[in-house]
C-alpha cells in the first residue's frame, strides 16, 4: 500500500510541478515586458531593477523559471500590484472563507447527490427515477450565478430569512456564519450534486444487481439491511472517486458563487485580479488552487486504498 501511495504522491507532485510551468507560461503570454506586467506601470525604476535582478529577466527563460521557482519554494508568491501586499498574505486571508464555503457545499453535494442517486437506483425505471434524473440534470444545466441570484431574491429579499451576502468566520460566530453560508453553499452544492447522483445511481444499481445482494436476499435478510449493509457499501467506492473529483473541482465553482454572494474568498480575488491585470495574484492563485487539487487527490487516494480491499491487495 505504501508503494502505491508513494507512487501516487510522486506523480501528483510531478503534476504540481507541471502546473508551475503552466502558470509561468500563461503569465508570459500577456503582451508587454514582464516587469511592467508584474509590477504595474507606475513602478519606480529601482523596483523594476530589483525585480529584473531577482528574476533574471535578461537571462534565458529556463533560468528565469528557476529563479521564480526559488521564490515560490520560499513561500514568496510576489507582491500584488493592486493591493501592494504580498500575494501569499492576500490569499491566506481569503482561504478560510473559500475553504469553509467549499467544504460546506461539498457536504451538501455529497448528501444530496448520494441520497438522490440511491433513491433513483432503488426505484429505478419508475417515475421516481425520472424525477430524480431531471432534478440532477437541472443542476448540471443551470448557470451557477443564475441559481445564486434566484436564491438571493427568494430567501433574502422576498422572504428575508437569510442574509444576502457577506461572511462571518465560523469560529467567531457559528450561528451567524451558518446563516451566511446556507445560500451560497446550497447554490454551489446543488449544482455539483448532479454528477455524484449519477454516479451513485449507477454504482448502486450495479451493486443491487450483484451477487452479494442476491445471496443476502435469498438468505432472507431484511430489505433495509440488504440495501444499507451490502449494496451501499459496495456502491460507495466508485462514488468516492467522483466525490473526490468534485471536491477538487469545487474550488472553481466557488469563484462564481463568491462573486454573486459578495464573499471575499480566493475566487473573487482571482476574478478581480484578472480584470485589474494583477498578474502576480493570478499566478499565485493558480498555484494555490492546483495545490488544493493535489492535496485532495492524495487524500482521496489514501481513503480509496484504505477502504477497498481489492486495491490494497493489488497494490501490496
Amino acid at each position: 500500500m505504501t508503494r502505491f501511495l508513494t507512487s501516487r504522491v510522486l506523480s501528483l507532485a510531478f503534476v504540481l510541478w507541471l502546473v508551475t510551468i503552466i502558470a509561468f507560461v500563461v503569465i508570459r503570454l500577456a503582451p508587454g515586458d514582464p516587469s511592467a506586467v508584474m509590477l504595474g506601470s507606475d513602478a519606480t525604476p529601482q523596483a523594476v531593477a530589483e525585480f529584473r535582478a531577482a528574476y533574471g529577466l535578461d537571462r534565458p527563460i529556463a533560468v528565469q523559471y528557476l529563479a521564480w521557482l526559488g521564490h515560490i519554494v520560499r513561500g514568496d508568491l510576489g507582491t500584488s500590484i493592486y493591493l501592494g501586499r504580498p500575494v501569499t498574505t492576500a490569499i491566506l486571508e481569503r482561504l478560510p472563507i473559500s475553504l469553509t464555503l467549499t467544504l460546506g457545499a461539498f457536504a451538501i453535494a455529497v448528501v444530496l447527490g448520494v441520497t438522490l442517486g440511491l433513491v433513483a437506483a432503488y426505484w429505478h425505471d419508475t417515475w421516481v427515477d425520472r424525477v430524480v434524473s431531471v432534478v440532477a440534470a437541472l443542476g448540471l444545466s443551470m448557470p451557477s450565478f443564475w441559481l445564486g441570484i434566484c436564491l438571493i431574491y427568494l430567501f433574502a429579499v422576498r422572504w428575508p430569512v437569510l442574509p444576502s451576502g457577506g461572511f462571518v468566520e465560523p469560529w467567531i460566530d457559528p450561528a451567524k456564519s451558518f446563516r451566511h453560508l446556507v445560500l451560497p453553499a446550497f447554490a454551489l452544492g446543488y449544482l455539483q450534486s448532479g454528477l455524484i447522483a449519477r454516479m451513485a445511481r449507477a454504482s448502486m444499481l450495479e451493486a443491487l444487481r450483484g451477487d452479494f445482494v442476491r445471496v443476502a436476499r435469498s438468505k432472507g435478510v431484511g430489505e433495509l439491511r440488504v440495501v444499507v449493509k451490502h449494496a451501499f457499501r459496495n456502491a460507495l467506492i466508485p462514488v468516492l472517486t467522483v466525490t473526490g473529483i468534485t471536491l477538487a473541482v469545487m474550488f472553481g465553482g466557488a469563484v462564481v458563487i463568491e462573486t454573486v454572494f459578495t464573499l471575499p474568498g480566493v475566487g473573487r480575488l482571482l476574478v478581480n485580479a484578472v480584470v485589474r491585470r494583477d498578474y502576480p495574484v493570478v499566478q499565485g492563485t493558480l498555484l494555490v488552487v492546483a495545490a488544493w487539487y493535489v492535496v485532495v487527490n492524495i487524500a482521496v487516494d489514501i481513503l480509496y486504498t484504505a477502504s477497498d480491499p481489492r486495491v490494497r491487495l493489488r497494490a501490496s
Binding site: 501592494g84 428575508p160 451576502g165 457577506g166 473573487r268
Partner: protein, 524 residues
Amino acid sequence: MLRRLMTLLLPVVMLAASSTAAAAAMDKCPAQGGTVRAAMAGSPPTLDFITSFAAQARDMGVYIYEGLVTVDSNYDAVPQLAERWTTSADGKTYTFHLRKGVKFHDGSPMTAADVVASVERFRGQSPRKADLSMVASAQAVDDLTVEIALAQPSAAFVPLLAYPGPAVAIMPKKLIDGVAAGKLPQSSVIGTGPYRLAEWVPDKHVHLERFAQYSPASAEASGYAGRRLACVDHIYFVPVPEVSSRVAGLESGDYDYAQNLPAETYKRLTATKGLKTVILKPYYEIVMHLNTQGGPLKEWKLRRAIQVGLNEEEIMLAAAGDKALYRLDPSLFFKEQYWHSMVGANRYNERDAAKAKALVKEGGYDGSPIRIITSTDFQFMYNAALAAESQLRQLGFATKVQAYDYPTMIDIFRKKRADWDISYNAFSIRTDPGGFTFVLKSDSGYQPYASKEVDTLLEKALLERDRKARLKLYEQVQDNLYKDIPMIKHGDLFGFDALRDRLDGFAPFYTTPRFWNVRSKDKR
C-alpha cells in the same frame, strides 16, 4: 476622480444647507453605542489616502483625518484643526493658529511640526499637489502656530487647502517622515478624527472605532466641519460592488446604509417601511475625457463631430435611470454656485446627427475603433458609457468599450494614454474654481489636453482677488473648453442613497455618508 466646486450662498441652497446643518448639529450624544454597517460601492485602493483620487478613499478618510481647514455645508472653507488664521497685508503669508489639546489616535498631541510635515508630504506625494503649487514654504513658528508662505498671493489657497479629495490630512510627523507614497502601513494610519482605524481587511471591510479622546470643534456641525461627535461606537464600511446585493442587504437589514443605488429602486425603497431614501444634490457631473494627444480623436473635427452629435438627454436618462435624478446643464460649475455660467452653451447638446456625420467624413475617420473606458463601480458611469457608445455608432464611429473598477480605470486614464480614446469621469463640487486647475493645466499631466491659453487663464485666476474678474476668467476657460473639446459634459447627476430608520439624525451632504452626530435607535 471627483473634484468639488465652491458653492455660493443662494437662498435655495441656504434653505437646504440650514436644514442639513440643523439636522447634524448636536451638543452631546443623546445616546452612546451601537454599530453602523454601510454598504459602499467599492473598496479604497490604499490606506495612504492622500495619494488617491478614488472616492472610496475620501469616503473613509474624512472619519480618520482632519485638516487645518475643511468645508462646511455651503462648501466654504472653515476652520477645523486651525482655530483661526490671519493673512498678511500682501496676501503672501498665512498664519494658522492651531486648537489646543488635540490628540492623535495614538495619544500623542498634535503640534505645528506635525502640520508642517503633513503639508510637505502632501506637496511631495499627493497627486493633488499642484493645487498647492502657490505655496513656497511651511514652517512651525511654535507648537501651535504654523506659517505658510505663498510665492504669490492667491484667493484659492485656503479653499483648495480645505478641499477634501484627497484632503490635506494632518498626520503625526514621526509616522510619515520619509514614507514614500502608498507605503504607509496600516499601523501608521493615525489621525485626529472622531474615529480611528481599527482594521482594514481588503475586500472585506474597513472597521472604524470611536476615538474616546477626540476633541470636537466648538462650532455647530456643518458639512465636514464643526462639532463632530462619535455617538456610534463602530462603523463598518463594507465594499459591496454588486448593486443588487447592496439593495438586498439594505432591505434585509444586513446593512444600515447603502450607497449609490439604482434609480429603478427609488420608488419601491421610498415606500418601504423601515427605510429612508436620500437624494444627494449636487452630486456629480458626468463627463467624458477625449484623448487629444493620440488616436483618432487627436483630429479636432472628429471631436467636434461627437460634440455636435450627442444627445445628452438620452445619455443622462440612461445614467440616472429616472428623470428626477438628473438635470442638463452645460457649465463646468453647478447651478448652485456663483461660478456657474452659460458661456459656450450653444455647443452643448446640439443633437445634430447630420452635421456630426458630415464632420466624421471631413475629419478623415479611418475606422479605427474608439476605445471607451468606464467604471463598473458606479452604475451611472457604466450606463452613460453604453448610452454614448450606442450614439457614437449611430454617428459612424467604430467603438470598443472596456469596464474596470474605478481605481483601475483612473490608473489607465492617467498613466496609459495609449490605451484609451474616451475615458469617463465624474466631477463633484469644488470648494473653489481653482480646484479645476489641476484637472485642466497642462503641467499637471492629469489629462492629455494642453492649452497655453487655458494655462494662462488659470494662473491669472488663481492670483486674481476680485471675484467678478475671476468669474470672467473662468468663463473664458469654459469657452475654451467648448472650443477645444478636450472633454464633453453630459449633465448633472443627483445621488440616491438609502438607510434604515434605526439611524437617527442622518442628513445627506456632498457625496459621502456622515455617520457622526448620528445615533442608532436600537442598541446593536
